[in-house]
Structure formats: C-alpha cells, structure tokens
C-alpha cells in the first residue's frame, strides 16, 4: 500500500524539492503551505507521516504539532521537523509539543528517506 507523506513548508521551491525527493521513493506526497493549510487538509490527505518546517506564517511548526497531537484522529501520527533551525531550545520545544524527530536543513535525500523509513509505522 502506498504510504502518504504530508509536507508543510511556506516555500514553493522547498515544497517542490521535497515532493520530488519523496515521490521518487514511491510515497504519495501531499503538500501544505503552513500550519493552517495543513490542518484544513489533514483529514482528506490521511497522511502516514507529517514533515513540517518551523518558520511559517499564520501557524508555525510548533503550533501545528500541538494541534495535530490534540486531534482525536491524528494524535499518534509521526511528525518530523525539517528546519534550518538547530538550537537545543527549539528542538526541546518541538519535543515538548510532541514531535517525533528533527532534521536540520539542508536535507540529504538519502538521509531523509532513511529517516522516513525509520519513523513510518
């Protein structure tokens, strides 16, 4: 069965990069441009994994993670952060919000796909 990954990033260029990398590995890719967009579409997208940026307008990655964790249907969904940020403070915040893991950009497609395989249940 094809697994679905929802990527959340405010940069169209980054969304295109991620789509290309993940679709090439055989995943169905759904994209959202920020946290609000992701929450609006998550029920239709039915993702097996969310990969989200942190710095986004309207609703950032931290708020998105908290909202997904509070969602009756998506409370246990794996969520990876993919961000240019790398401070321990930010990582700790994501961990507290309920993120599954953190990857620092720029991403390497091979490492990204290994990380995805590791957290997809």
């Amino acid at each position: 069965m094809t697994r679905t990954i929802m990527t959340v990033d405010d940069s169209p260029s980054m969304r295109a990069l991620l789509r290309h990398a993940l679709a090439g590995e055989g995943y169905q890719v759904e994209t959202a441009e920020d946290g609000v967009d992701a929450l609006e579409r998550i029920d239709d997208a039915e993702p097996d994994l969310v990969i989200t940026d942190i710095n986004m307008p309207r609703m950032d990655g931290f708020e998105l993670i908290e909202a997904v964790r509070g969602h009756h249907r998506w409370g246990n969904l794996p969520i990876l952060v993919l961000s240019t940020e790398f401070s321990d403070e930010k990582k700790q915040r994501a961990r507290s919000a309920g993120a599954t893991g953190w990857i620092v950009k720029p991403f390497d497609p091979v490492k990204l796909s290994a990380a995805v395989r590791r957290v997809l249940v």
Binding site: S13, P57, T84, K91, R95, G101, W102, I103, V104, F107
Partner: protein
Amino acid sequence: MNAQVGIAGTGAKPGAKPGALRADGFRHIGIIQGDRGVSADPQIMFSTVLGSCVAACLYDPEAKVGGINHFLLGEPQPGQVVDPAAQHRYGVHAMELLINDMLRHGARRDRLRAHLYGGANLHAGMRAIGSDNAAFAVRFLQQDRIPLIVRDLGGNSARRIDFQPALGRSRAKLVRDAVPAAPRRPAPISAPVHAVASGDLDLF
C-alpha cells in the same frame, strides 16, 4: 534605533561586523561568498564583489528591512561530475536561510522584492557556471513568487554591489580588471552549513 544587524556565516565564524562610520555616511559590511546579512539600520551598507556568484538583495518595503546573500551553486573541478539536483538543493537552502533571517527581522514573505546581481562568466571556454547560477536565482524567485525588480546578471565582468537594506536601494559597478576579492573556495554542495550535522535525524 533599529540597529539590528544579523550576519550569519557558513560556520562557527562570527561573521562580519559593521565598520566605522565613513565619510559617505554609512557603516560598511562586506559580504563574502557563503555569507548573508540582514538589517533595518539606515546607516548600514552591505557590499560584495561578485564574479560567477549571485547575490540576491531582498527588501520588505513595509517593514523597511533588507537582506543580501552571496552564493555559488558549485564550482566543479575539471572532470568532476555535476549533480544538478544537489546544486539546486544548495541554492534553495541559501535562499531559505536569507528569507528566514528576513522574517525574523519583521519582514513578510508576500511583501518581499528582489534585486539579482552577478552570474558573470569570467573565463571564456569554461562551463558557464555564472549562467547556471543566474538561471537558478531567477527560477527560484519565480517559483516562490517574489517579484524581481532589478536584474543585472550575466556578462563577463565582475561586479561590485552596494545595498542599503533599510531603503532597499542597490547599485552595481563593473569591476573590469579584477577577480572578485571574495575567496574562491568551492561552495559546499551538500556539506553542513551549520556546526551541527545537517540532514541527520535527531530522534526524540
């Protein structure tokens, strides 16, 4: 005084600091390859010298904050295989770092305007690295829907760029007989831009 200057280098290096106030009324900050700078201080002037590299000057007219980067997608050695996908990823990353710094200084993505400079092909007969860099930058702005206001790309002369971030004003001068003063180290295509390992999964 909104003297916020954010300079981020490519590694542990603290980055350039503004110099003394000069006769022209500005504190100059040099931006070398791989660096970027963001400021809302009207006394700051960013300067950089470009050959085949590209500098994107971004400006938010409402927040009155501007930023500049200086990047090279890659400079393959003779015989080295170029991975266009890796180059593209590196370029997107260079732009994202600048945009994120801008957002931290109060800019909004949908208000950004861009000036692009550089992308010269300095050496006849070599692969047109400058053209590749320029084409990437134009494509990125189109894809990210950032209006390109000033476009001064290509040719075969180096350029000196001065950018006033608080006004979003830039100017370029051709540097006829000079190789850019910036170090011509190859751009780290997929190398970590941070002190921490990029791309690795940190599992919580």
